[in-house]
Amino acid sequence: MTKEFALTVDRIKCDGRGLCAELLPEMIRLDEWGYPIIAAGPIPQHLIPLAQRAVEDCPVLALALRRTERSKGG
């Protein structure tokens, strides 16, 4: 089993401040109204610290890291 992380957005809390897309453009882009679109799939290991930073810095606490366990080679 390897531990994987994914980003989730609480769509009701999210205000479209856009900080997350600045901190983690590799995973997050903004739509035409300024709301985040998260790339599908787990976060690559090397981006996890940046993802954590994005979660901590979200001004309305709408972004979260969720751990998903997945068996290798499934």
Binding site: D10, R11, I12, D31, E32, W33, G34, Y35, I37
Partner: protein
Amino acid sequence: MNSLLAGPPLTGPESLASHAGRLGPMPAVGPRFIDTLVQSRIAGRGGAGFPAGTKWQAVATHSRGDAVVLVNGAEGEPQSKKDRLLMSTRPHLVLDGAFIAARVLRARRVILYIGERHRAARAAMLQALAERNETERRLVSEHAAPARYVAGAESAAIHFISEGVATPTTMPPYPFERGVDGKPTLVQNVETLAQVALIARYGEPSGTSLVTIAGGVPRPGVLEVESTTTIADAVSLAGGASDQARAVLVGGYFGRWMEARDAWPLRLDQGSLRSHGLALGCGVIGVLPAGRCPVCETAGIMRYLAGESSAQCGPCFFGLRALADACTRIAEHGTNRDDLQRLDRWTEDVRGRGACRHPDGAVIFLQSALQTFGREFAGHRPHSAAEAA
């Protein structure tokens, strides 16, 4: 006969005496009824089509004798009339289902959640409730559901009853974990509950569904159809002439447009429609007559759906508005490549990005319009005053 609308004429609520005389008393089923429900494979008839048995299992697992049964008769879909008809004419069938759920799931409360504008339905349900015994009556409270499209969504119904605000909430927590006042809650559509009343008696559902035939037919309204009934059959029962239709909207505003000729042979059965990538949803079959402009029709429905966003999630509030505006620009001023491209891009961007499924339903509807009416969208010109008259 094992059907939802069997019995006396559909002119008013059936009395308890007539109901019990026809079907016998409400059977005393226990926890094992959930297995029967799972085996029946019945799907919810509120719109999402979620398997009822799975829902009951989840609530039963979480219930500590404190569960809540929320009887969903909000029927916010503008064209749908079937839940209203059922509550107005066969209220005891719905109440039986609700009380069976309360017993099996060890619920302490049963909440009737009926659309505020559905006056006959509310009156019939309350009249029927007054005929029930005191033990049953004491479980029940009644709430008028606001006349908004999203008010019937599970989390919106719970939010309204707990806090007076009929807007969806972020899930999880799911209703079966934390619903009304934090208690495990079963939110079930009234037609599904009526099926429960039949399953408890006969061991299987009626095999029929209630559908509403709307739009370009001489006699629009509710029909109870067998799973073998095709859309063509249903439309002809509503007095319709199949050759004069341009397209059919299968499943209401969260459904999909189909070319009429492709729609006619489809059976009005959840499983059969699923195999065609469709859903029965709330059961609205909308017939678009050949004389009506599909682009203008689609733009009108998109404006409605944008206006019905609960304005909580940015992608839904701004995205649906932008999509409705683009459709309206095409409808009113003629087609243009920029707006067509925006429609393609934004439908992809908006999907899956709301707390509830409102934006998803709206973009699935719009994508099916763009597919089915691709020619009309690409070549649309504004209707002149003379044409419109």
